[in-house]
Amino acid sequence: MTDLGLYRHLDQMAPWNDRLQVLEVIGVSDEAPDVKTFTFRSDNQTWFRYKPGQFVTLELPTADGLLMRTYTLSSSPSRPFSIAVTVKAQAGSTGTRWMFDHLRPGSHVKAYGPAGDFSLHSHPAAKYLFISAGSGVTPMMSMLRWLNDCAPWTDVGFVNCARRPEEIIFRKELELLGSRMPGLSLGFMIEERSSREGWFGHMGRIDAIRLPLLAPDFREREIFCCGPDPFMRAVRGMLEAAGFDMARYHQESFAAPLVEEIPAPFASPTGDGAAIPVEAATPIRFSISDVDAACVAGQTVLQTARASGVRIPAACEFGLCGTCKVKKLSGEVEMSHNGGILDHEIEDGFILACCSKPLSALDIEA
């Protein structure tokens, strides 16, 4: 049901408000078993400004209360009238399951963001390698779609690993892009055969032998990796062992890592399809709320608070009005404010949550 009279050109629209936006669902589509893409437009006739690979935080009003869930966007900012997230409902998932059960075209949901540094725009290079597993494909898809629209000759190796052939998300679109982007080389890998679809490609798990088969010149590429933590650890291990310059390796994950034991900030421990960068996650304790969260690289204290369901009042969000001033009980931050806090307040341990990024573990009175 489209009202053509509502159409406005991009240059007639303002960018969306990245602090709080009400989104309207305009599409729900099946991608794979238990995987759906939800497409949104702004209910305010704004366009979406973000970097391919960034994530948004959705506020999901479930029966158990508000859940804050973070999802990487699968859409491309080169198509700025709408955004989309592609999510997998894992067993035990609450937030994503709620989306599956409740979001229909016409539904509304609140969103914060975009945020995140996991983007090829932050790490420009001549050649890229995108390695993903499962729904870790979403930020890769966002970046690939952007490249197809804006720089289709770019040299990209795209490797996706899935359990079964039918679980490869975006498989048809990827194959189509492969025929249109001369520099795109696709590599798929499955763990087990399926009775539903034949398979002629690689099988098993990615390892030091198969990686060079899928991307022979991986050493020359800027590598982006996203998937379950064991998967990413395996990829990282292979690259380290191969002497790869890890400064050119970037990863993002679904759930809290098992090894570092950082409490899960965004996703439920069972995994909720939420993609979060983990390598640089910094623990933040919000003492009044009794919430332990993890701050993703590039995120502010305020964004982390929101993603964890901790409410810190805020208004301008560029360090001017001081509304988000909170006491920092311990830890160090990097703060780039615009005059919204006084020197003596800083000396007394206060920070503006909106423009402070942790340099160490933090204890925040909020």
């Binding site: 208004a315 001017l320 009005c321 919204g340 806090i341």
Partner: protein, 415 residues
């Protein structure tokens, strides 16, 4: 007959040297005229520079209907603004004092720079011109550590007051002092009764045992009469001026402000029960001389002051209604003086806390009695109450012509 004409008629018909008629002390319409014609037009003492120690320090005050905020900006200037957000009018600063990096309205977080410019207004329509919605300024001047504001659109020239008063104040370096204690009491009496009581010491002997241990009751000290024929005053002035402290009695030709330095009794140097100093550290590093007495300063309609060698006591009068007046007292000491080491707070504040309480009761009894239908204006003592006569004359001289002006007074309005 409307209040304006009524008041004018009663002023014109008043007996010189007599107290005012009942409605001047009790009538809400008269009170409204006092506010409009005096309080919203004249310079008013609000507080001290040292209460705004750094950029972002602010204090708020309510003058009749006008909430006002005073704030020190990044350049160190003290600015006054109407404390009413240009969005929908909410009070921007809603505490007595504090520090803030920016002035942020708590309602919708409209954010103003400390110089009043609107910096940020969330999600206003495109084309919204922030430059049109800065906080409205209030005229503000600082002299010798005292901050005055004026709500009028065209304030009276502040320069003559500065020229006369500043030399008396500067040696005391009140800009560098600190407020050791402050108290605000509400006296259930008209603001003019508060002033009349203050302008004489006729009542002191019977009411102020603590103050009378150190403060002389002589009318030449407290009043405005014959001070320069009193040999004790003359010798005190000579001694103090030789030490670099302007001291002679001087008064504004219109009678609105005056300064003089009065000796305390015998060997007293401070307002304590013993007469000895209350603060070990001198108030000012620039005044080392002992026995300088008290610098007496008043400026109608808001302030009278006592500035001593070891501390200063300053007073601010603000009317609340026809029959209620707030009196704020501040005890200032050297900024490095340490409570419990250089002074005992109870000892420092004792005399004036007691004296204020006594004055409050006096004023309230006075106000109570004036409510009697049998009240009629009575004669002031010419010997002791020259100061009261001078105050009432000043009042009549200031408000009378303003009452007679055509049309409504030119008031500064707030959006």
């Amino acid at each position: 007959m409307d209040a304006r004409n009524d008041m004018l008629k009663r002023l014109q018909g008043r007996r010189d040297g007599f107290s005012l008629e009942q409605p001047f002390y009790t009538d809400p319409d008269y009170f409204k005229l006092d506010m409009e014609l005096i309080w919203y037009r004249d310079w008013l003492f609000i507080g001290h520079d040292c209460e705004l120690p750094r950029p972002g320090s602010f204090i708020t005050v309510q003058i009749g209907d006008y909430p006002v905020v005073l704030v020190r900006d990044q350049k160190g200037n003290i600015n006054a603004f109407h404390n009413s957000c240009r969005h929908r009018g909410s009070r921007v600063c809603n505490t007595d004092k504090g520090t803030a990096a920016k002035l942020v309205c708590p309602y919708h977080q409209w954010t103003y720079e400390l110089d009043g410019r609107l910096l940020f207004a969330r999600q206003m329509a495109e084309g919204f011109d922030k430059s049109q919605f800065g906080l409205k300024p209030v005229a503000c001047e600082s002299v010798g550590g005292y901050i005055f504001i004026c709500l009028a659109d065209e304030p009276a020239d502040f320069a003559p007051m500065r020229t006369m008063i500043e030399p008396y104040l500067l040696p005391h370096r009140l800009r560098e002092a600190k407020v050791a204690f402050e108290s605000t009491i509400v006296e259930k009496g008209n603001w003019k009764l508060v002033w009349e009581n203050n302008r004489e010491c006729y009542h002191c002997a019977g009411n102020h045992p603590e103050l009378c241990k150190t403060f002389p009751e002589a009318p030449t000290v407290t009043g405005v009469q014959d001070a320069d024929s009193d040999p004790e005053m003359l010798s005190h002035w000579a001694k103090c001026e030789a030490a670099g402290l302007p001291s002679r009695f001087r008064i504004d030709p219109a009678g609105q402000y005056r300064a003089t330095r009065a000796p305390l009794l015998r060997d007293a140097v401070s307002y304590t029960m013993t007469g000895k100093r209350a603060v070990k550290k001198n108030l000012s590093d620039g005044v080392a001389t002992d026995r300088i007495g008290s610098l007496l300063l008043y400026h109608y309609p808001t302030t009278w002051n006592h500035i001593l060698g070891d501390h200063a006591v300053t007073f601010r009068v603000l009317p609340i209604s026809a029959t209620e007046t707030a009196v704020t007292t501040k005890w200032l000491v050297h900024k490095d003086a340490v409570e419990g080491v250089d002074y005992d707070l109870a000892e420092l504040t004792h005399v004036w806390t007691e004296t204020n309480g006594q004055d409050r009761r006096i004023v309230e009894e006075n106000a109570f009695g004036i409510l009697s239908p049998a009240y009629e204006p009575g004669p002031y003592s010419e010997l002791h109450e020259g100061g009261v006569i001078q105050f009432v004359d000043w009042y009549a001289r200031f408000i009378g012509p303003r009452l007679a002006e055509d049309g409504r007074p030119a008031l500064r309005s707030v959006a």
